[in-house]
Symmetry: C2
Subunit: 224 residues, 2 copies
C-alpha cells in the first residue's frame, strides 16, 4: 500500500506538506490583491482561489484578514528595502552623488507601484497597521543615512548650503517621487496630460533632480 491515493477524477493525488511554499504563495497572492483593491476591497475567497492552496490555509497561517494584510504590508516594505541596497555613492563627488541619489529614488518608486499602493492604502487607514509593526520601523533609516553622508560631504567641500536637515531633504525627495506614481491617474485626467508617457516621465525626472540640486547646492554654483 503506497501513501498516495487516486481521486475520483482519476488524477494522482499525493499531498505534499510544504509549509514554507504554501505560506509564501499565500503572501504573494495576498500582497497583490491587497495592493490592488485595498483591505476592504480584497476578498479572502479570491485570494484563496488564486493560490495553489485553500482558504483554510490562509486562516491556518494568518489568523484573520487583518493579520494577513499586516503581513502583506510588512512584506512590501521588506522587498523595497532590499532592492535599495548598494548605491555606491561614496566615490562620487557630492553634487554628482546627490544627483544619482535622487534619480535612483525617483526610478525606484516607478519600479514599485505595488508598494506605493500599499502605502497609500495604509495611509487611508490612518496608519493603523503600520503602527503595530515594529518590523517596518526597524528596517527604515537606510535612505536617510546615505543622504546624510552625501550632504555632509557637500558641506565640507563648500558646495552645499548649510542649515538643511537630511530628514527634511529626504521628505522632499520622497514627496516628489511618490506623487509621481501615486497620483498619475487623477493628474493625467484633470490636466488632460499623459503623465505616464515616456517623454513626460523623463521631463519630470529631470525637473525633480534639478529642483533638489538647486535647493541644496549654493546658487552661485548653478548655471541658469
Amino acid at each position: 500500500m503506497t501513501t498516495h491515493k487516486v481521486a475520483a477524477n482519476g488524477k494522482e493525488r499525493t499531498r505534499k506538506n510544504d509549509p514554507v511554499r504554501v505560506k509564501a504563495d499565500i503572501m504573494r497572492v495576498a500582497t497583490r490583491e491587497f495592493s490592488e483593491k485595498g483591505l476592504s476591497g480584497a476578498r479572502i475567497d479570491e485570494i484563496a482561489e488564486k493560490t495553489k492552496t485553500s482558504k483554510r490555509m490562509i486562516y491556518y497561517y494568518f489568523k484573520d484578514k487583518e493579520t494577513l494584510y499586516l503581513k502583506a504590508l510588512e512584506r512590501s516594505y521588506q522587498q523595497v528595502r532590499q532592492q535599495e541596497g548598494e548605491l555606491e555613492l561614496d566615490h562620487l563627488e557630492p553634487i554628482e552623488a546627490l544627483s544619482k541619489l535622487v534619480a535612483f529614488t525617483f526610478e525606484h518608486h516607478i519600479k514599485n507601484p505595488d508598494f506605493i499602493r500599499m502605502v497609500m492604502i495604509e495611509n487611508i487607514h490612518h496608519g493603523r497597521f503600520i503602527e503595530q509593526s515594529e518590523l517596518i520601523q526597524s528596517l527604515n533609516a537606510g535612505a536617510v543615512d546615505e543622504l546624510q553622508k552625501v550632504y555632509r560631504r557637500g558641506l565640507e567641500t563648500g558646495q552645499f548650503r548649510p542649515g538643511l536637515e537630511a530628514l527634511e531633504l529626504h521628505w522632499l525627495i520622497s514627496a516628489l517621487s511618490f506623487f509621481n506614481v501615486s497620483n498619475r491617474y487623477t493628474f493625467s485626467r484633470i490636466f488632460n496630460w499623459d503623465q505616464n508617457a515616456a517623454s513626460n516621465q523623463e521631463k519630470l525626472a529631470s525637473h525633480v533632480i534639478d529642483m533638489v540640486l538647486r535647493y541644496v547646492v549654493k546658487p552661485e554654483l548653478m548655471a541658469d
Copy 2:
C-alpha cells in the same frame, strides 16, 4: 381630516417632501463616509443611518453605490475649487506672488484632508471614475492659469528662469503639498518624526516655498 397622522409612539408624523434637502444630506454623509473608508469600505446601510432619511432614498436619487461614489467625488472637487477663489496675485511683484501662491496651495491642501483622501482613493481605483466625469475635468485649469500669469510676469521682469512650463511647475507644487497630507501617517511612523506637529509643519511649509522659489528664480537673485 388633516393631512398629518399620529404614529404609534404618539409623535406627530407629518411628512415633508424636500428633495433638495434630502439629496444634499445624503451627499454630505456619503462624501464623509467614502473619504474615510473608501468605495469598498463604506457601507450604504451606515450612510443611510447617519442620514435623516432612509436607504431607500439613496437608491432613489443615486441609482447605486458606484454612482453615489462618483457624485461624492465630484462634490469634493467642486468644493475645493470653490474655495480656491480669490487669491489676488496681480498686484504683487512676481517673486512675492509666486511665494504666496505656493503658501496658499500648501495651506489649502492641509485644510482639505477629506478631499485629499478622495483623490487617493480614486487613484487606488486607477482613476476609473474620474475618467467618466466630464464635470471634474471641466472645472480644473484655474490653478495653472494663475501660475502661468505669475510666471510670465516673472519672465518679463527677468527674475525668473526661462524654459519652464506652468503645468510642470504646478505638478511640483502639487506633489509637495499633496504628499504632506496624504503620507503623514506612514512617514511619521517610519522616521519616528511627528510630521503633524505645528513646528514641523511650519518647517515643511517654508522648505516647500523656498524650494519652489529656488527652482524658478534666477540663482543670482537668491541669497544663500
